[in-house]
Symmetry: C3
Subunit: 391 residues, 3 copies
C-alpha cells in the first residue's frame, strides 16, 4: 500500500503496529487484508471487532502475550497448522546444514525440504554474477573450467539438494523464453556473461538457454521444475538502492509462453516423469496459452494463481479461464509462497473456499455432479500437489 510509506521513521515494533493499525482501511478488499484479518482471528484469537486503530495498543499487548506461549513456538504452530510438507528456497551453494539437522531431529516429524533456486547463478545481470559463478565452479565443479564446469557444478548441486530431500527446482526468470543453443554458442555467451559483456537481449538468451539446460537436468534427476516469469524486478531504482530487492516494487508485464517455451517443450515436453509447473502474473495467458499447453503436454501443469493473482476473484478467473480447456487434472493444486509463517492457514483456507465456490457453481449449473465435485475438491487440495510435486 503506497500510503504505508516506504521506510517507517521508527523501528519500535509498537510504533510500527500503531502505524499499521491506522492503515487498516487501506486493506479493505485486498488479498493481504483478508489474510491478515483471518490470521488475527483464527490463529491469534483476536475478536474481529477489535481490529482497528482505536484498539491498536490492546491488540499489541494481546499479540505479545500470545506469542510468548509455548503454543506459538514454530514447531507447535507447524503441528497445529497441520503442515505436512514445507519447502524453503535455497542458494545452490547452501550447505543445507539446517535441513540436515532438522531431518536428523527425531523430535520433529514434519518434512521441511530445501528447493534448488539457482536464479542468481543464471541471471547474468544480477549483481555479483561472475564472482558467484566462479565460486560455484570451484566449490561444486568436477575440475572442468568454463561453461562445462558450470553445467557440471549445477548438476552436482542439484544432486546434493536431492540427497537432502529436495523435490523441486524453482526458477524466477524475466521471461518464459527458452533456447536450445549449440555448445559453442552457449559457451560464447557464458564467457561474455562472466566478463559482464551481455546486452539485454543476450542476457535473456543466456537465461533462456539455461532454462533449457535446467529442464534437461530435471528430466535426468527428477526435480520438478517450476517457472515464475514476468515480473519487472526492482522497478523503482531509488527504492532498490535504499532498501534492496523484494521491497514491493516488482511490477508484472506481458509475456508469451507459447513461442517462448517451444524449444524446451519440443525436446522435453513429453519426457517420462518430467513435471513443469507454470506460474504467471499475466492472466491473459490462462485461457490463451497455459490451458492449451497443459492440455497437450503431459509434463505441463498449471501453477496456482500467484502473487497479485493469489486472491479470491483472481482465483475464480483462473479456474474459469483454464478449466474448460484443461479440466481439473492438469492443476498443480494450491501451493502458498508466503514468507509469513502465521498466514499459512489463512492462505490455504482462502484457496479452498474459492475452489469450493467454483465447483459449487458448476454443480448449481448442472455442469458437474455433486459427487464428482466433492472428489475433485479433495483432489485439488490433497492429491494434486502430492502427485505433481512427487511428494
Amino acid at each position: 500500500m503506497a500510503e504505508l510509506g516506504v521506510g517507517s521513521a521508527s523501528a519500535d515494533p509498537r510504533d510500527i503496529w500503531q502505524h499499521f493499525c491506522a492503515a487498516w482501511p487501506l486493506f479493505d478488499g485486498t488479498a493481504s487484508g483478508y489474510w491478515l484479518r483471518s490470521e488475527l482471528i483464527e490463529v491469534f484469537g483476536i475478536d474481529d471487532s477489535l481490529i482497528d486503530e482505536a484498539h491498536a495498543d490492546q491488540l499489541y499487548e494481546q499479540l505479545v502475550s500470545v506469542l510468548a506461549t509455548p503454543e506459538f513456538r514454530p514447531r507447535a504452530l507447524f503441528d497445529s497448522f497441520g503442515i505436512e510438507v514445507l519447502a524453503t528456497t535455497d542458494d545452490p551453494l547452501d550447505s543445507l546444514a539446517d535441513h540436515a539437522a532438522l531431518a536428523a531431529d527425531s523430535s520433529f516429524r514434519g518434512r521441511v525440504l530445501p528447493t534448488f533456486r539457482p536464479d542468481a547463478y543464471l541471471n547474468a545481470h544480477a549483481p555479483g554474477f561472475a564472482e558467484r559463478v566462479d565460486r560455484l565452479i570451484v566449490e561444486a565443479g568436477d575440475g572442468a573450467h568454463g561453461y562445462r564446469g558450470y553445467l557440471a557444478a549445477l548438476a552436482n548441486r542439484r544432486r546434493y539438494f536431492i540427497e537432502h530431500g529436495a523435490i523441486s527446482a524453482d526458477h524466477g526468470v524475466r521471461t518464459p523464453l527458452t533456447l536450445k543453443l549449440s555448445d559453442d554458442e552457449a559457451e560464447r555467451l557464458f564467457d561474455s556473461a562472466l566478463r559482464g559483456g551481455l546486452s539485454a537481449a543476450e542476457r535473456d538468451a543466456f537465461e533462456g538457454q539455461m532454462m533449457y539446460q535446467m529442464a534437461r537436468m530435471s528430466v535426468e534427476d527428477g526435480l520438478v521444475m517450476t517457472l515464475h516469469p514476468g515480473s519487472y524486478r526492482n522497478h523503482h531504482e531509488p527504492s532498490f538502492a535504499r532498501f534492496g530487492a523484494d521491497t514491493g516494487h516488482d511490477i508484472p508485464f506481458a509475456v508469451g509462453y507459447t513461442e517462448g517455451l517451444r524449444p524446451l517443450l519440443n525436446d522435453f515436453g513429453t519426457a517420462a516423469g518430467f513435471h513443469l509447473v507454470l506460474f504467471t502474473l499475466d492472466e491473459t495467458v490462462f485461457s490463451r496459452e497455459l490451458a492449451p499447453l497443459a492440455g497437450f503436454y503431459p509434463s505441463v501443469f498449471l501453477g496456482a494463481p500467484w502473487w497479485f493473482l493469489d486472491a479470491p476473484d483472481a482465483m475464480l478467473r483462473f479456474r474459469s479461464a483454464v478449466t474448460e480447456t484443461a479440466g481439473f487434472s492438469r492443476s498443480a493444486g494450491f501451493v502458498d509462497d508466503t514468507r509469513a509463517f502465521c498466514s499459512i492457514p489463512a492462505r490455504h483456507d482462502a484457496s479452498r473456499r474459492v475452489e469450493a465456490s467454483f465447483l459449487a457453481r458448476l454443480v448449481a449449473e448442472h455442469r458437474i455432479s455433486e459427487a464428482r465435485a466433492a472428489e475433485v475438491m479433495v483432489d485439488l487440495v490433497d492429491a494434486a500437489p502430492r502427485r505433481v510435486f512427487k511428494l
Copy 2:
C-alpha cells in the same frame, strides 16, 4: 487431454472406447466433456448414470447397435438434427464433384455447401507450397504465368466455388497482419516464395498481402471472408513428424488486429456488401479491438467464440466483453466448426443456453426488456447467421 496419451497402442475400437471411458473424469468441467455427455444422452439415448468406466462394454454394445439403425444414417441425422445448411471447407482445386452430386440428388433437401479454403496456397512455408501453386496456375489460370497467373487462378476457382454454392472463403492465417503492396513488391515476394526463399517476416508479409487480395476478391465476388488467426500450428515437432497436422498441439498466442487489419479495412472496410467475420483465440482483443472495429466498420462482424473459447464461461466472457460497445447486431451468431457430426446438436444447444443466460442476466438487471431479449435471442440463433453469411 494429455493423460489420454498421444497414439493409442491398440487400433481396436473397443479398446479405444474402453480407454476413453476410463478417462471420463479428465473431461469434467471441459467443453469437450459437456458436448460428449450431451451427445451420448440426447443423440444416442444413453442413460447418464451409465457413462463411466464400469459400463464401458455395455455402452459400446449399445452404441454399435444404435449406429446400425436407419435413423443413424448421415442423411437421417441431418434431418433429425434439423440442419438447414452445412458447409465443408475445401481445397481450391477440389472438383466439388460430391457437392454437385448431392445438389443434383432430389432425394436430399438439405444444403451442403463448399467453402473456399486456400490456406495451403497462401502460406509460403506450408510443405509443398511451390508445387501446389504451380498446379493451381496450370489447372485454373488464364494462361498468365507468375504472380498475375496466380491471382487469376485464385479468382477463377473462387468463381467455380460460387457456381457450386459456396458463400464464404475461410482463412486460417498466422496473424491478422494485412498489407497492401505494389504489384512489383508482391511479385518479388511471390517469386521468392516459389523458390522457398522467404524469411519468417517475409512469409507473414506475403500472407498479409494475400489477405488484402482475398478481401479485394470478396468485395468483387461477394464471398463472405472469415479470418481465423493466432494459432501456433504444430507446436510439438515430434508429434507433427509422427502424426501430422491437426493432432492437438496448436497453441494460441497474442495477436493484434487493430494495426494488422488497417490496410485491408482502409480500402475495403466500408465497401458495399463486403462481410468480414473475425474470429480469435486471444480473448483480450474482444473488448479492446474486435468490438470497437465491429462498432465502426459496417463490414466487420464478430465471429462466435472459437475452439478453446467455444465453451460456456468463455462464451459469457465474450458477450460481456463485446456487447457494451458493439451491441448484439454485429455478431455473426453461432457457427460450430465441429468435425464430429453427432456433436452438432450439443454445440448449438450449449451456445443457445449461454446466449439465453447472458440475456436473462441483462433482463434481471433491467438492462434490456424481456420482450427485446426474446427478439435478440431469435436473431442471434436464426437471423444473424443468415444475414451475415448471406444464406
Copy 3:
C-alpha cells in the same frame, strides 16, 4: 454503430432523430443505449414505453418543447444536475477568456475549470505541428528559441492555466512510453520534429520524452497529470479525410505501462504532491500493471474505466481486477469524459450503481463489512475525486 452509417444524407435534425429512433434496437445492451435511455427518461421526462421508432415524431416535439423551457438552459441544468466542478480541455494557447468571464460572473456559482491539454504541441506527427509550436514559442516563450524556448513556453502556459483555475494537465498519447533524454538528444529530436523529419519510432520517443517533461513540470507546478494512451486514432483514413478527427474510428490496441512509465516513475513516482492518474483502453493491464503500480507508487492513481470500458460489465471487471491488489484508496473515483452535457447524470448514476453493486457483492461474501462498504461508497463518489484532483 456501423448501421447508423457514416454521414447521414440529411442535415435536418428531425430526419436525424427519425433515423436515430429507427436504430434504437442496435443500442440494446450498449453503454450508449443505457445512457441515452436514462437521459431521455430522467432528464427529459420521456415515458419509457415511447422510446421507439413509432413514436419518433412525438418524442421530437416533446424534446423541442422541453428544450425551450428555462429549466433547460445550461446554467439551470448545471444546478439541477448538482454539478460542483466541470472541467473543459483547452488548447495551451487558448486565452481562457470564457473561463475568466464565467469566473467573474457572480450570478454563476459553479466551478468551470480549464484543463491544460497540449497533445497537438507534443505529437510531432499531428498536422500543423511545426506552425503551432512556432506560434507557442513566439506567443508564450521567454525569448529563447528552439527546444529551450519550447519548454519555457509550455511552463508559462501551464502557469497561465493555473492562474485561471486549472487543476490538471491531460495527455492523450499514443503509448505509455516515457523517456529521459539528455538535453542534446531532446533538442536534436525537437529540431527534427519541426522539420517533419521524425520516423514513427522517433515520434514516439519525442512524445515519451515530453511526457517525462510534463511530469517534471507537474511536480513543480502541482497540476494533476492524467494519461490516456492506447488508441489508434483515425483508423479509417477515408473517414478522416472526409469528416476529420474524433469521428468514431479510434481503435484501441495493446500497450505496456510497466516498462513504458519506468523512466518517469523512477524520477517522479515518489515526488511529494505529484498525482499521476492512469487511464487505459486495454483492460489486460488492470490486474497485471496498473494495480501493482498504484499499490507501490504514492503518485499513481487508477483512473476510472474509460471510453469503451465505461460500461457496467467493464466497470465491474475493473473493480474485480484492481481491488485485490490496490484496494479502494488508490482509485481516482469516477470522472465522466462526456461531450454530451445532458448525459452527465446518467453516467454518474451508472457508475454509482456499479460501484455499489461491487461493494454489495463483497458484503454478501463477507469480504467487507456493510458499514465499511457504505464509507467506501461515499469515498469513491465524493472524497476520492476531490483528493486525487486536488479540488
